[in-house]
């Protein structure tokens, strides 16, 4: 993951186009801000090393 602070404006526009999700202009800024928060949180998850044998639980048994 990119360690530099990123401007997600372009990402939000392009990813929204890729998934076919029109984002009305009046919501755009807030969606970008929400995505920035998600990205900061995701960094915590992405920076954690996991061994190759750690698999998703297909049926989750706690």
């Amino acid at each position: 993951m990119n360690q530099e602070p990123m401007d997600y404006t372009t990402y939000v526009e392009q990813a929204a186009a890729v998934v076919g999700l029109p984002i009305p202009p009046e919501y755009h800024q807030s969606v970008v801000e929400n995505f920035e928060r998600i990205a900061a949180i995701a960094q915590l998850v992405m920076e954690f090393p996991l061994d190759d044998d750690v698999e998703i639980a297909p049926v989750f048994e706690p």
Binding site: N34, V54, P62
Partner: protein
């Protein structure tokens, strides 16, 4: 002289013994709802006629000498994401109001009705369960019975408020990241989030399939155990529902705490809260003889991973409506859902793989201890409309952070009881009693012990 607000167990006993009829009990509940719902805003639908009919059926069964069930005539409510036959399942949304009424009751409603309980209505929640506040822009805020200017917490705020206010002794809610435990703590009642997969979610509106749980709100520990026991059991209609046989908790409650290894969670769970909250956990820990401390490893990262899975799965569920009618979403959820729909798959997958890693570490922890204690919420109920929170001197966003102690634990499906701590002249707070997977009975035993010592309780406050 009967108690003014009996719990479900004693209410059912009075009805079965013929001291009072189910119709009288249900009529009284409906009258109390009619009186207080305008200020509390906890019910979205009240099924008065149907409830009176069901109560009559209970009374007729008793008159005919049949067993009316352990919850005979007990009025209960459900978060409005449970399907109720003939009613539209709103899930706190405006969008779902255009859908057809549900054809059949949710499995858990069916099981409580089979035990004689009488459904009186559906209860307010954050839209699509995406929130910790129950301030719904379509239907208004739910209000805390301990102070009407304060929030109930969420997302099952209506269910918690209705039980705390003594409108019903029993309600059902859902908990994905804390939505049973947070409102039960802020409203000062008992809330049980069972092990993931323990109770069927069939015919309830989902939020995050990987993390969704259902469970009861009550004003006594024995009611939590009884309702949970009656709802347990496999259900092919929910693929995540366990095939394990029911393990009854009610017969275990009197066993006390002897032999249980109880520890207090440190580090993550001993910071970022108002000092009184941490002191209360210490105090209850002492009463339980908890001398050990344990560190739940990587709890902060667990919360982050739960956040990513929630945003991604939750958004995907609503993608079609987000495309067509984004303006019809609650303003508090809309932009989070829109942003969540753009999460790259690799973030989601890493969060899911981390979940498996973290589950294994916490399983190891439960080799050393049986019960872990932690705060439920970082503060008592904030004011309605409050947007920030001061934690350890740092101003932070309120909405996501009310769940900071609950989110890392539901993430791996641990069974947890919120016990209510009453503080004279102050708002109630809560503590989580956390057990290993499928050990609901141990958590409930500890809760019952604290209740028997008078250290936790859920008295009904005087309503204006």
């Amino acid at each position: 002289m009967p108690e003014l607000y009996p719990d479900a167990t004693s209410l059912a006993q009075s009805i079965r013994n013929g001291e009072v009829t189910a119709k009288a009990v249900v009529a009284a509940a409906l009258a109390r709802i009619a009186e207080h719902n305008p200020s509390l805003n906890c019910f979205t639908t009240v099924l008065a006629e149907q409830a009176m009919g069901d109560a009559d059926t209970v009374d007729q069964a008793i008159a005919a000498g049949h067993n009316p069930g352990p919850l005979a005539g007990v009025p209960f409510g459900v978060k409005d994401l449970f399907d109720i036959a003939g009613v539209r399942t709103l899930a706190g949304s405006k969008i779902n109001a255009t859908r057809s009424p549900a054809a059949q009751d949710a499995t858990l409603i069916q099981r409580l009705k089979q035990a004689g309980a009488v459904l009186v209505g559906a209860q307010l929640m954050d839209e699509y369960a995406y929130g910790f506040v129950t301030e719904n822009s379509h239907y208004g805020p739910c209000r805390n019975p301990h102070d009407l200017n304060r929030m109930t917490g969420g997302s099952s705020g209506g269910s918690a408020a209705s039980v705390a206010a003594g409108l019903v002794p029993l309600a059902l809610g859902s908990d994905t990241n804390g939505s049973i435990r947070v409102p039960s703590a802020l409203c000062g009642i008992f809330g049980l989030k069972p092990t993931f997969g323990r109770l069927s979610r069939a015919r309830t509106y989902p939020f995050v399939a990987s993390l969704d749980h259902l469970g009861p709100f009550t004003r006594s520990v024995r009611d939590s155990a009884l309702a949970f026991d009656l709802m347990q059991g496999p259900d092919p209609a929910d693929p995540a529902c366990t095939q394990r046989p029911a393990q009854l908790c009610l017969p275990e409650l009197s066993k006390g705490i002897d032999g249980l290894r109880i520890a207090i969670a440190d580090e993550y769970f001993a910071t970022n809260a108002e000092p009184d909250i941490l002191t209360a956990v210490e105090h209850l820990g002492q009463a339980l003889g908890a001398t050990q401390r344990v560190t739940i490893p990587e709890a902060k990262r667990a919360r982050a991973a739960a956040f990513i899975i929630t945003a991604s799965e939750g958004s995907h569920l609503h993608l079609d409506d987000l495309r067509k009618t984004p303006q019809d979403f609650d303003t508090a959820t809309r932009d989070r859902f829109l942003a969540g729909a753009l999460i790259p798959a690799t973030w989601y997958l890493q969060a899911q793989r981390f979940r498996a890693w973290y589950r294994d570490r916490v399983r190891e922890l439960f080799q050393q201890v049986d019960i872990i204690l932690a705060p439920t919420v970082p503060c008592p109920a904030p004011l309605i409309g409050q947007t920030t929170l001061k934690l350890d001197g740092v101003e932070t966003l309120l909405r996501p952070n009310i769940g900071l102690f609950t989110q890392p634990l539901s993430f791996i499906g641990l069974p947890i009881v919120n016990v209510p701590i009453q503080r004279p002249g102050q708002l109630p707070i809560g503590m989580q009693i956390i057990a290993a997977p499928y050990q609901e009975a141990l958590a409930l035993r500890v809760a019952a012990y604290l209740e028997s010592q008078g250290l936790v309780a859920a008295p009904v406050p005087t309503l204006p």
